[in-house]
Amino acid sequence: MEQLLYFFELFFGGLTRGSIYALIALGYTLVYGIIELINFAHGEIYMLGAFTAMVVAGVLGVYGLPSAAILIIAALCAVVWVGAYGFTIEKIAYKPLRGAPRLSPLISAIGMSIFLQNYVILAQTSDFVSFPQLLPELPFLEKIGSIMGESDFIILVTSTATMIALTLFIRYSKTGKAMRATAQNRTMALLLGIDANKIISMTFIIGSALAAIGGVLIAAHMGQINFAIGFLAGMKAFTAAVLGGIGSVPGAMVGGLVLGLCESFTTGYFSGDYEDVLSFGILVLILVLRPDGILGKAKVQKV
């Protein structure tokens, strides 16, 4: 019984972390699906989301709004602004490089990532800052508190809702259909009158907004942020995206959850010393053995 309980504790803990990974991984996978670019600056987008929410929440906190209202407004602001950041970054750092050799946008992305970190250091601070405790208390979780805390519950519910909304959007909306078409065959999509630039911008905005939600959730859960949180989270999320099959939207969700669970069980049943080694080990192994991931489709390279 105790063993079973422990298993579920680890399971839900892993699910919570995994859903954050999944939210960030979606940004990688969406962008990769459309323009085959590994957006290295995506981890920084997640960090910017947390920072924007922190600033907005701070301002609203001074004016004394109730904490649930602060959380929602701060999260919305983070989503809007970070979407705008994603849009701008694409216009500056990637758009001029369409058609350039594949190395160029990748290097440009690494440069952008360094730039954004230092932008936050200069504009805000290089120290850790506190993120206000805004998550509401949920009395009905008292009984299962050891298995699933309030933050875990909120993170799981929010991210599940977000992912369902995204799936519906991609499946049924006009823009979503255009995105899928562009991902499948860009030339064909262009011929059918789809504005590729618009679709690419849309992709960056949506991907960034998802990362921002992830950023706000984890910051509200842990109560702290700094400029460097994007690196590790970005790397792990990227691993998740590769694990699920980069370019595949359900793949990123599954990959995120699987990675979160793997990490949780490694620490729980083996040792915390090897948590990160495991993630990167998975990354290497998956790429070597099955580069198209769990749900990805093998691509044939055409000349």
């Binding site: 859960h221 109560g223 702290q224 069980f265």
Partner: protein
């Protein structure tokens, strides 16, 4: 290629044949530490402390009839620069050195001082390796080392809290892992080790390890690391309805921790040097800084003030600049400093410096007066 080697060899011979020579008519005290770069905020307050004391003595007519001169060398807290800084100080004629600041830099620098029989007194390097086994007779410090903190923590956990199952978590850093290992060693068989594990301080959350600590039924958690990770850890624990105490080193004692963890920080323990702000010499040191620089002193100022006072006092007592006599004076003579009335033991560790356990109570770190330890 053959010719090139000749040229290289010739240049090498030329380069190897230059040596410095200098004479002294003042007493030169070297001050080494991070005076620029990321960690300048650690190195500048000690430099100021040395200057204040030198000015004070010079106004009174100097030491042994000579003026004191402070010569500063910047090591940016980098081991590879510290050795250079040490060599530079020696060649510039420093008779004694107050520094270095960071542990890594100090480890890199002390062989050079030992070679030239020059004494160094660090205000802030806390790694136990520096004094272990008494292998560095020319090294002294005015701050408690990490093992002392571990001893206090061990005492506190076994005697005061009366806990028997300890879980250790560290951040895989030199400081954090060293502390966790030292506490485990100090506790010995007085309590069981139920868990000893590393976490990555940058991980988004620590939920899995926290659950493991609960499964192992630990009744106290020792964390070796710094305040950002500690804040996340304690938040994770309390949110999972786990209320065993968390004990850590001075890396945790930062007001920022209370801001970040909020109500979850309540009850957390962290050790730090005893609060000596009531001592007259502490007040004097503070007043001197305010008078000269117009603001409150930064970190390590008081330890550096104590180190410089100990140096000057020892030279005065020795009556000469002979290293052995100065070392004897440092070992035997107590001196009133802002961190207490101190001398140094045979290993070079301070005697008379106090360590206390602090606890977060109502959003503030409060010194637990009954859990202090005097170094001897």
């Amino acid at each position: 290629m053959h010719k090139l080697l000749h040229v290289l060899a010739a240049c090498a011979v030329l380069a190897l044949s230059s040596a410095p020579a200098l004479a002294a008519d003042t007493i030169k005290i070297g001050v080494a530490g991070a005076h620029s770069g990321d960690l300048a905020s650690y190195g500048i307050p000690p430099l100021r402390a040395a200057q204040i004391i030198a000015d004070e003595y010079n106004a009174k007519g100097g030491l042994l009839g000579k003026q004191l001169e402070i010569i500063a060398q910047d090591d940016q807290c980098k081991p590879e620069l510290a050795n250079n800084a040490a060599t530079k100080l020696i060649s510039d004629g420093a008779v004694i050195v107050m520094g270095h600041i960071c542990s890594g830099a100090t480890i890199a620098a002390i062989p050079a001082y030992a070679n030239s029989k020059i004494i160094s007194v660090s205000p802030s390097a806390t790694t136990p390796a520096l004094t272990k086994g008494g292998k560095n007779p020319y090294f002294f410090r005015t701050i408690a080392n990490d093992d002392d903190q571990a001893r206090l923590a061990a005492e506190f956990i076994t005697k005061k809290l009366g806990k028997t199952k300890v879980a250790y978590i560290h951040d895989n850093g030199d400081y954090g892992k060293g502390y966790a290992e030292a506490v485990r060693r100090e506790i010995g068989n007085k309590a069981a080790v139920v868990l000893f594990e590393a976490i990555n301080p940058d991980a988004p959350d620590f939920s899995a390890v926290v659950k493991k600590v609960r499964k192992e039924k630990a009744d106290v958690l020792v964390f070796g690391g710094y305040h950002p990770a500690a804040s996340k850890l304690v938040t994770n624990m309390r949110k999972n309805h786990m209320d065993i105490p968390l004990v850590g080193p001075d890396g945790l004692k930062d007001e920022q921790l209370i801001k970040m963890a909020g109500k979850y920080a309540e009850g957390l323990y962290a050790s730090q040097p005893q609060d000596t702000s009531d001592l007259p010499s502490h007040k004097a040191a503070h007043a001197n800084h305010v008078k000269k620089f117009g603001n409150d002193p930064g970190i390590f100022y008081y330890n550096a003030y104590a180190a410089t006072l100990a140096i000057v006092n020892a030279i005065e007592k020795a009556g000469s600049l002979d290293s052995q006599k100065i070392i004897d004076a440092l070992h035997n003579d107590f001196v009133e400093t802002p961190v207490g009335k101190i001398r140094f033991n045979s290993l070079g560790e301070p005697v008379g410096v106090g360590l206390s356990m602090y606890q977060v109570q109502n959003g503030k770190f409060v010194e637990l007066k009954d859990s202090t330890m005097m170094l001897n």
